[in-house]
């Protein structure tokens, strides 16, 4: 299992990278998704532009209004180790620490993960919850796309040839508390059920991933979340509410296990968010 032949370039700056991308090249970030696909020869880019060391994409900052800006080439491990400033840093560090394995996190990037758009992946789910906005640049242009418009389905995004995801912008989430739940058969493997939840005074929402469609964000009555829960979640009013909301979103086979896992992890994420 060897990679098919390709050309490789590692431009020194962002503009050079955008110029190269304008001419039919693919982006190589951490390569933790692209490389296996090339190994299986299901992806065969002719030219790779390695953006993993572009300093313009490797930083993170908190803007005065509280918007958190993360460079696309920031690795999962950097986030895990606390690279993100501001109130979201702790939650996102925990999310990052739950992705794959440390050796993968040392190379895999948040931008790569969003562009890969695996429905079971962590960042697409969490960034959908946070209403992140993605900055896509091309030679001579830039557009901003909300992540929910960016993620189109299984391994499908709204990115156009020649575009590079440079920055992820997360609006401030005042007073929010977060929770995350995953269900895997084996630790570190892609989730069979994944959910991230956000609780603000007066509102609760949960984003469910690992569906056939892009992550689905559902609003839930916060009163159901904050009250005491029965030991068997499946018989709780919360479960019934998330179940009903997911059924209404028409994203799953409502009788199937995947549907149930989505609802269950959704409830668990919400309950975690409600923990003091």
């Amino acid at each position: 299992m060897k990679f098919p032949a390709f050309d490789y370039a590692r431009p020194a700056g962002l503009d050079a990278a955008l110029d190269l991308l304008a001419g039919e090249a693919a982006v190589l970030s951490g390569g933790q998704s692209l490389s296996p696909m090339m190994g299986f020869r299901v992806a065969r880019p002719e030219k790779l532009v390695d953006i993993s060391r572009l300093s313009a994409l490797r930083g993170a900052a908190l803007e005065p209004d509280g918007t958190l800006v993360i460079g696309a080439a920031v690795t999962h491990a950097m986030i895990e180790d606390g690279a993100l400033p501001g109130p979201l840093g702790g939650f996102l560090a925990r999310v990052a620490g739950g992705i794959a394995y440390r050796a993968i996190r040392n190379r895999g990037t948040i931008g790569g993960s969003l562009c890969q758009a695996d429905p079971a992946a962590d960042w697409p789910c969490v960034m959908s919850l946070l209403d992140a906005v993605l900055v896509l640049r091309r030679a001579g242009g830039e557009r901003q796309v909300p992540v929910r418009a960016f993620l189109l389905g299984h391994l499908m995004t709204a990115i156009e040839p020649g575009e590079l995801l440079t920055v992820i912008r997360i609006p401030p989430q005042p007073g929010a508390r977060f929770g995350m739940a995953k269900s895997t058969r084996k630790l570190g493997e892609f989730a069979e059920g994944i959910a991230a939840a956000c609780l603000t005074p007066g509102a609760a929402r949960v984003t469910l991933g690992a569906l056939e469609v892009p992550p689905a964000t559902l609003a839930v009555d916060p009163a159901l979340v904050t009250g005491p829960q029965p030991a068997r979640l499946t018989s709780s009013p919360l479960y019934a509410a998330v179940d009903a909301a997911l059924k209404a979103a028409d994203a799953t086979d409502p009788a199937g296990y995947r549907h149930h896992l989505a609802v269950l992890t959704g409830c668990r994420a919400l309950i975690e968010a409600a923990q003091p």
């Binding site: 060897k2 990679f3 050309d7 490789y8 490389s35 296996p36 190994g39 440390r102 050796a103 630790l187």
Partner: protein
Amino acid sequence: MTDIAITINGTAWEGTVEPRLSLADLIRGELTLTGTHLGCEHGVCGACNVEVDGVPMRSCLMPAAAADGCAITTIEGQYGEMAERLRAAFTTHHALQCGFCTSGMMATALDILRRGLGRDEATIRRELAGNICRCTGYQGIVAAILHVAQETTP
């Protein structure tokens, strides 16, 4: 073809590589450091873990060209005090059988110890999740890491 310059186990190396050559195949091939193994070539097993600029990475998923300018340490170059303690502990706790996973395990184990995560069994097990050992059931490996962590923390 791409020119690269790396440091391999402390020694500078320069050469020309085909872009599609993985770091693992460079290490095992031209550099003849066959202590790094390939168990899956798709990122799951961890047999190919090597240290790149001080942290473990999957050498099977990384084009050698992308390692240009990096310092790479393989099992053959792991000779710090911690590595030596780990070697001794791997033997005493029977942390290897066929030895195929061993070099990748050592890379991960060293990283666990350096990050101060070797103090309890549950954490060690979680951090080992990215390295498959088909022979030992991991218990000797877990014990060896725990042992070194206890030895080296006051």
